[in-house]
């Protein structure tokens, strides 16, 4: 991923502010008892006791994790914006941190209570989430639009182009074939079904419906085994998936008006691997970073 962020980091300040309020409240409540309830059953009755600092660690750790995830999501959003648009994912971390913070404050307030029964602290949660949400909306609205500078490197394929044109002119039969089958896909195609089958067998007696669902899903995964392949002939371009050859794309060559080859970053430009879409095109890739962009005659880019 490109190191220079497009979206300003201050849009995450509400999350950090809520976290600061939580830590401030914690400091005011110090010292914490050596031992306190750290887990509760559905009725709010404690069923496990330990150092309350474990809860502090979980709340702060989870908050930082959600803020980090949100930084990635908001960055991907900003990179694919053609004009300023409200990012509905932006308040994700703030709401989550607010929820955690509200629950934590409710927890700390009762930590010294002898008969500790955990009631969901609606007031604290509503206050913290409300504050976080308002600030998140304000910062998201204030976020400036920064056009993302494309890093797609168009390759010079004029040599290949003239070579292909010559072959096509002379009536040669051509076949281009490329397979994307990285090790992680092979591993996932075997490992995930095994986990699912194991889960189905283990839960068969307690939840048969879920087990059947797991079995069906597990049976689908081997279809991915064999990766994704592109096959181009004089007449068609096909993209197929797995050993079964599930067709993903089929284009007539005559419908393609223009093609260019460029390098890209899966994470930066599409947010990951697989069958991905951004605002301008759809990509099919498991492992490569070089792709053909095809412009059909309708001029709609793919």
């Amino acid at each position: 991923m490109n190191k220079k962020l497009v979206h300003p980091l201050w849009t995450h300040l509400p999350g950090f502010l809520v976290l600061a309020v939580v830590i401030g409240y914690l400091i005011s409540a110090l010292p914490l008892p050596d031992e306190a309830p750290i887990h509760f059953n559905f009725n709010g009755i404690p069923d496990d006791y330990s150092s309350p600092w474990i809860v502090v660690g979980i709340v702060v750790g989870l908050s930082l994790m959600y803020i980090s995830i949100s930084i990635i999501i908001d960055e991907l959003w900003a990179r694919q914006e053609k004009q300023k648009s409200f990012n509905w994912f932006a308040p994700f971390d703030d709401i989550t941190v607010g929820l955690l913070g509200g629950v934590f404050i409710g927890y700390i307030r009762k930590i010294d209570t002898l008969d500790f029964t955990f009631d969901f602290p609606w007031l604290e949660v509503l206050l913290m989430v409300g504050l976080a949400l308002i600030l998140a909306v304000i910062t998201e609205r204030a976020r400036p639009y920064r056009p993302y500078e494309e890093h797609l490197e168009i390759e010079d394929v004029s040599g290949l182009e003239s070579e292909l044109a010559k072959r096509l002119r002379t009536g040669q039969k051509i076949a281009y074939w490329e397979n994307q089958d990285p090790a992680y896909m092979r591993l996932l195609s075997v490992l995930l079904p095994l986990i699912m089958f194991g889960g189905a067998v283990a839960n068969w007696a307690s939840d048969t419906t879920a087990s059947i669902l797991l079995l069906v899903l597990g049976l689908l995964f081997p279809a991915f085994f064999g990766g994704m392949r592109v096959l181009v002939t004089r007449d068609t371009l096909k993209v197929k998936l797995g050993v079964l050859g599930i067709p993903l794309v089929r284009l007539n060559i005559s419908d393609i008006d223009e093609a260019e080859v460029f390098s890209f970053s899966p994470l930066r430009d599409f947010g990951g691997y697989g069958i991905r879409m951004n605002r301008r095109m759809k990509g099919y890739f498991f492992g490569e970073t070089k792709v053909s962009k095809l412009l059909p005659e309708t001029r709609r880019s793919r």
Partner: protein, 130 residues
């Protein structure tokens, strides 16, 4: 992998496939571990008999260019770590070098000119970084 079949080429179709796969391994377009299309896929794409593709793959396996395992796609084999023995080189290249010199003779090219032509080709290959 790009395969083109030229019906005007004097070489049989399976040899055209063999040569093009070997050429793409040499140029680095195909790397050890890369998979090749199945016999059926390649045959249907090129509109040629499956036996022709099978013959090409069989020849490539015999020459150690690809590996074929039951139930798996053909894969580009590891490159040689050490050069072939003198006997093997002689067996594979000797006859063809003799043919080349004969063709050069009939084209009216001296052995020095043939050597220079050959060196020019080698320079082009080296220039490409192969």
């Amino acid at each position: 992998m790009l395969i083109a079949i030229d019906e005007n080429d004097e070489r049989p179709i399976y040899m055209q496939i063999v040569y093009q796969v070997k050429e793409q391994v040499q140029s680095g377009d195909l790397k050890p571990g890369d998979t090749l299309p199945s016999v059926r896929e390649l045959g249907e794409s090129l509109g040629i008999n499956l036996h022709t593709v099978h013959s090409a793959y069989k020849r490539l396996r015999e020459q150690g260019v690809i590996t074929l395992r039951l139930g798996q796609r053909a894969k580009i084999a590891k490159l040689r770590e050490s050069p072939a023995s003198c006997e093997e080189v002689e067996a594979v290249l000797g006859t063809r070098l003799k043919e080349l010199t004969t063709e050069a003779f009939h084209l009216g090219i001296s052995l020095d000119e043939l050597r220079s032509l050959f060196e020019n080709h080698l320079e082009v290959i080296q220039h490409k970084g192969v």
